[in-house]
């Protein structure tokens, strides 16, 4: 930093290449980054020992709310849409693939044919690159990614654990009518709950049956009971970013929640409360042969846009004011009511875009 380190000490004396304040900021940033790397390493080590990371809200998580994340996301998206000269494309996409562990062998087109990083990011795959398990009794992964959480929802709270020490409400995530949730809680408080059986449950009572099931199971013989299960899958930047149908089902509704665009890395999951419930997302809800099914595609800062094949007009990550976060979701009900749109297992239903 100091010019006096080289050459004439008289000439260099007192002359800095960087102003003192800038140098101090750089040193501070370096220290913060080192601290962050140290913290992340500690988390990895604890995970290897089988110790789950715990929720620890911090000051930075509060500050992040003040950042114009939507504008940043949109700017990032427009940068990624800039056309790259043809001769540079293979080099850039190979570098991206190396950085984010993408498999270039399964890319549908030659690399030169993707005009921008955005086009490369939303790429399709070669025919047969993702074989679909044909077993009618199985549920397949809708995306490429890493399983973060899975399990069965139990009890009146019906919460999914974001990280040890903090959970979020499934009703809030999916935007399922609060009346259903209220009905479930009312049902629990009634003495005659055992009169209910899954056979008389209708399309709207999945929640009630699920919550009531601990009491129901003691009352019924040879009667298959239903549970509500969940699976949370995180997509890395290098992953294939299209969403496929996990089962044969009927999509009945589509909801779009215009929320924040917080990042979704492991650090954010550990520090930002209600991360998934607050972020912009699209929920497809319907029924399969076993009952209710819903998929929530949740955007992040760098991957903020969600495209839904059934809704070509839907625009996500729009330039909107902060107030829009408190608005109710836009909901679309598919006709004919109760049947909706039939979708086969493995069929592409949605996708993510950068920015």
């Amino acid at each position: 930093i100091h010019a006096a380190n080289s050459g004439d000490s008289q000439a260099g004396k007192g002359k800095f290449l960087l102003p003192g304040a800038t140098a101090a900021v750089l040193v501070m940033l370096g220290a913060l980054h080192a601290r962050r790397m140290y913290d992340d390493k500690k988390v990895v080590q604890r995970k290897e020992k089988g110790i789950e990371p715990e929720f620890s809200p911090d000051f930075k998580a509060s500050l992040i709310r003040l950042l114009p994340l939507r504008s940043m996301s949109r700017f990032w998206g427009s940068l990624m849409e800039v056309d790259i000269p043809v001769f540079m494309r293979p080099t850039i996409y190979k570098a991206w693939a190396r950085a984010f562990h993408s498999d270039l062998q399964e890319v549908a087109l030659p690399l030169e044919e993707y005009p921008s990083l955005q086009a490369f990011f939303v790429r399709s795959l070669k025919e047969g690159a993702r074989p679909i398990d044909p077993d009618p009794n199985c549920l397949v992964s809708p995306v490429d990614g890493k399983v973060l959480r899975l399990g069965e929802l139990r009890g009146p709270g019906t919460m999914i654990e974001q990280v040890k020490g903090f959970s979020y409400s499934v009703a809030s995530l999916l935007g399922t009518s609060s009346s259903l949730h209220d009905a479930a809680e009312e049902e629990l408080s009634r003495e005659h709950i055992e009169q209910s059986t899954p056979e008389n449950s209708n399309a709207k009572s999945w929640w009630r049956v699920s919550v009531a099931s601990p009491k129901l199971r003691d009352q019924t013989v040879l009667s298959p009971k239903k549970g509500i299960f969940y699976c949370v899958i995180y997509l890395h930047p290098g992953d294939y970013h299209r969403v496929h149908s996990p089962v044969d089902w009927n999509i009945l509704k589509c909801r779009h929640f215009s929320g924040h665009l917080f990042p979704q890395n492991e650090r954010a999951i550990r520090t930002v409360r209600n991360l998934y419930v607050e972020n912009e997302r699209v929920v497809l809800e319907g029924r399969w042969k076993e009952g209710f099914v819903a998929i929530a595609a949740i955007g992040a800062t760098n991957v903020g846009s969600i495209r839904v094949n059934l809704e070509p007009e839907l625009r996500t990550n729009r330039a909107v004011s902060r107030m829009v976060h408190s608005l109710p979701p836009e909901e679309r009900v598919y006709e004919p009511e109760g049947t909706g749109v039939v979708v086969k297992k493995g069929e592409e239903i949605a996708g993510f875009k950068m920015g």
Binding site: D135, V147, R149, R217, P224, P246, F352
Partner: protein
């Protein structure tokens, strides 16, 4: 970006024994993956 799948599936089935007690029978849903596993679109995650 993240995807959350929420779905209903058979959770348990109770069968009456001859002595009048109950036992659970097969047919329950079970996951084939665990947290931390990498999955690809189309791979079975539960059966």
């Amino acid at each position: 970006s993240t995807v959350v799948v929420v779905f209903e599936a058979p959770a348990w089935k109770w069968k009456a024994r001859e002595d009048g007690t109950f036992s659970s029978a097969s047919g329950d849903f079970g996951f084939c993956v665990r947290p931390g596993d990498k999955v690809r679109a189309g791979e079975t995650i539960g059966r």
